[in-house]
Amino acid sequence: MNNTILYGFDYILYYYYYYYNVFIGYPLVVKISIFVILVSILISAILFIEILILYMGKIRDRKILHYLKVTYRDKIKIIAVDPVVHSVEDIIVSLNYDKKKPLGVKQKRLFTGLLALFKVELSERLNRTNYHNIILAFDLIPFFEREIQFAKPRYRMRMLMWIRYLEESVSSVVLIPQLYNRNPQIRKAAQATFMWDSSADPFRFFDNADFDSNFRPWDKIDIHNIFENRLRWNKNIPNVTQWIRAPKNEIVKPLFACEIRYWHKKDECPYLLDTFFETNNMELRCEIAKTLGYMKYVEAEQKLISSYTAQPEKVKQAVISSVTMMQSGLSLSFLCSAYFDAVDISTKMAALEGLFDYGTQGRHEFELLELRADMADVILFEHIKNPLINQQKREIA
């Protein structure tokens, strides 16, 4: 008779039930402690394996990158800076790129990063056409589109950034589903890419009632960059007054007032002036005042001055700065009275700075006031006159 009862998997089951029965016989404190010990050991082991996997992955990536650099870097750099235009076919031949054995997904991701790096390195000397043709030669546009549609969120997000970074474009069909992605980060990045590239009502998002609720300071920087790039690529930028005058999205309105100033759209000044008196958004009022001043819209000068006393301190300072920028020569008395009437020291300093920068007349008035200034105010005059302090101020401005 065979005495062996357990075979193979039975051993595992036997010991499982054996330890299980021993375990349930322990007091609660010991049971919990053993559980914590086992979980700690198990997760620690998993994490060590995970570190090892990540480490191996890094080594693999490094090898791929090394291969890409050795095979293509020098040749690509030569082509990218060559003033002579190279066709896609020429590039394929000169890079010795076998289209039947294209780069894999991982290789293409790393290659895209490498191209972005070249763009920074060669920024001034870069031949845009050749650079674009290199991207076409490696079939990267379909790859970008595939990544945006099907990749994991992190790669999708990264690709949306890379497209703008590389100044390439993808089909709207690919972008549109991402405009309403559940992930707000991807949605924002897709919207930015769409605004940057599309011609089919690209700024429709500004009309959304909830644009404000998700508006981040970064979006200001992003939107400005989008406008800048569109102009660089001879695409129009919208007339932003429509959104300044719209009843919604109060947070984003000051940005548009700044953008008018930045792009020097003087035609929009009359609308801005009306908005200055209509809005209760103080930040918007400040930006409008500065914009009107920057664009030397002298028609607004007296209106701004007449409303001065009723404004909060920040708007007062913006009006002073606006009037100073206009340099009409008519506001000397206003700046003097702004100095005398100021209750806030920042407003007082703004008025003095205004006088100091207000041409010869202003400088003369500044000096006269300095002679009459009381002890407490002398330091303000000294502060404004000092070139070492103002040097930094000018840079900030």
């Binding site: 007091p27 404190v29 010991v30 919990i32 402690s33 053993i34 914590v36 010990i37 700690s40 050991i41 997760i43 620690s44 994490l47 060590f48 995970e50 570190i51 990540l54 480490y55 890094k58 972005a116 920074v120 969120p153 992190r154 997000m157 990264r158 950034m161 970074y165 980060q185 609720s213 998700n214 508006f215 981040r216 300071p217 970064w218 200001k220 920087i221 992003d222 400005h224 960059n225 800048e228 700044c258 930045y262 020291i345 300093m349 330091i379 303000l380 000294e382 502060h383 000092n386 070492l388 302090i389 040097q391 930094q392 101020k393 840079e395 900030i396």
Partner: protein
């Protein structure tokens, strides 16, 4: 009755430890989710490109209090001036140094006194003069020469008054800032639609690493004992604790060694309290209270990447001074802000963070010592159940090791440079060894220093801020080979504060 008390205390300590383990585990999970989100949606090259070109890039003031730092100040100021960011200024506050700190600054940077209209927006000791450089290359440098206020908080307040930009970083002269740190710090501010009032950044020990001209060349874990334990402690605190708490927006403290703040809010709450021993914790809680009371949504994020390297106490005496002061600060802070505890008005800070701080930071040393005393009594009376003791000890020990493995993983995951040397002495191996020894060689001292701090607070013993001698970039004998000093430094910080002044 005696048995009942012992049993009750035994169970209390066990479930107390278990609750702590649960909280740490939750923090680890929350931290990992937080790190993944940060890592995947942050691209430094893209952010750099846009911020460099944009007119909307917010400016940052770096406020650096300095007291008797003549040996290191020049090299460190140069390092700060070379940080990569398009719009920033460096404000050095000479807090009435009695050595040649100011003279060295004047001669090295060609400084002259300027008639600066100084406005005391937050309270500080009188400012003697403000100096600017005549050289255009240093136009972003401002030096504030003030009378000694006795504390770093007072000097920081003077720097805040002079700062021109909407955000400021409060740091120390002996800190080395990572080249891209300002981009990393500003990103949470820019990418949140809620108002970010402060950002906590990860700091590491500078001992062991190699710096050339104030720039990190080679990051390595410290090879001397106490800095190594502190490195482990910092990593645990930043990568697990703060990252975890940040995920529910309940950070207790943005380090005074390297913290990023919204200047407007700091001024609104009155700046640093120079009477506080934990001025950074105190400031954050006051900022949180201010935002909650005004009903403005806010956020205080934590950055997992290392933004700054600082020199930690290199021996037990210095460590003792530092930790005693921290313990004093913690207890003072708990008394000042006791009204927040379990106050639903302050939501997660009042309902979760403050009770946690009270139970697991403040009371922990007492419970530990109580438990240890009871254990000795049980040994003496021969009534110990050794099996249970061993199992509980192993539970705590293995959990500590597990936690250290997690921080190694997190550190690798966020891209620490240690990962270049994963299996080398420079990398995580030393940290794991330190984690094994920490409960025996480090933790008992920390408990002792905490109790000492509490005791001195309650007995109102005259407390002085004593010399915190730093070795600077020179390092100790063992580390000498890896340091390339820009200027050999022996920093001596003498900060004295008499109890009577409080």
């Amino acid at each position: 009755m005696k048995n009942f008390i012992f049993d009750f205390y035994g169970y209390f300590v066990f479930f107390y430890s278990l609750l702590l383990i649960l909280i740490y585990t939750l923090c680890m999970v929350a931290s990992f989710i937080n790190q993944r989100r940060e890592k995947f949606f942050f691209s430094i090259s893209y952010i750099k490109k846009l911020l460099t070109d944009s007119p909307y890039t917010p400016g940052i003031s770096i406020v650096v209090p300095a007291f008797n730092e003549e040996n290191s100040v020049i090299a460190n100021v140069k390092s700060m001036l070379s940080v990569d960011y398009p719009k920033f200024e460096v404000i050095i506050v000479n807090d009435g140094s009695t050595d040649f700190t100011l003279d060295k600054l004047i001669s090295s940077f060609d400084l002259v006194e300027v008639p600066f209209a100084y406005r005391e927006l937050v309270k500080s000791a009188p400012v003697r003069r403000i100096l600017k450089s005549r050289q255009k290359a240093y136009s972003i440098l401002t030096v504030v020469d003030k009378e000694n206020g006795g504390t770093k908080a007072d000097a920081s307040n003077a720097g805040i008054n002079v700062a021109q930009y909407p955000y400021f970083i409060d740091t120390d002269v002996d800190c080395i800032i990572e080249k891209n740190a300002l981009y990393r710090l500003i990103w949470p501010v820019l990418s949140n639609h809620k108002k970010v009032i402060a950002v906590s950044a990860t700091m590491m020990m500078s001992q062991g690493s190699r710096f050339v001209d104030g720039r990190m060349q080679y990051e390595r874990v410290p090879h001397s004992l106490y800095p190594l334990f502190q490195e482990l402690e910092y990593m645990r605190s930043y990568l697990v604790g703060k990252m975890g708490w940040a995920s529910i927006n309940a950070i207790s403290n943005v380090s005074g060694g390297f913290g990023f703040f919204d200047r407007e809010i700091v001024i609104a709450v009155g700046g640093y309290d120079s009477n506080s021993f934990a001025e950074d914790m105190d400031l954050i809680i006051r900022m949180v209270k201010y935002m909650r009371e005004l009903g403005i949504p806010y956020k205080i994020p934590q950055i997992p990447e290392t933004c700054c390297w600082t020199e930690g106490p290199s021996n037990l005496v210095l460590l003792g001074r530092q930790r005693t002061r921290w313990a004093r600060g913690l207890i003072q802070w708990s008394f000042i802000h006791h009204k927040i505890i379990l106050n639903p008005r302050y939501r997660q800070v009042g309902m979760l963070l403050m009770p946690y701080m009270l139970l697991f930071e403040l009371l922990a040393p007492f419970i530990e010592v109580g438990g240890f005393g009871m254990f000795i009594w049980l040994i003496l009376t021969n009534s110990v159940n050794w099996t249970t003791v061993w199992v509980i000890f192993l539970m705590i020990y293995f959990f500590c090791l597990f936690q250290s493995t997690v921080i190694c993983f997190f550190s690798y995951f966020v891209g620490s440079t240690y990962r270049r040397y994963v299996f080398a002495r420079e990398g995580y191996i030393l940290l794991v060894i330190a984690a094994m020894l920490e409960p025996f060689l480090y933790h008992p001292f920390i408990t002792f220093f905490s109790l000492k701090g509490f005791f001195s607070y309650f007995t109102k013993r005259n407390f002085k801020w004593k010399n915190m001698s730093h070795k600077g970039f020179e390092g100790d004998e063992e580390n000498k080979s890896v340091f390339v000093p820009a200027e050999n430094a022996t920093i001596s910080v003498v900060m004295q504060k008499k109890e009577g002044e409080l």
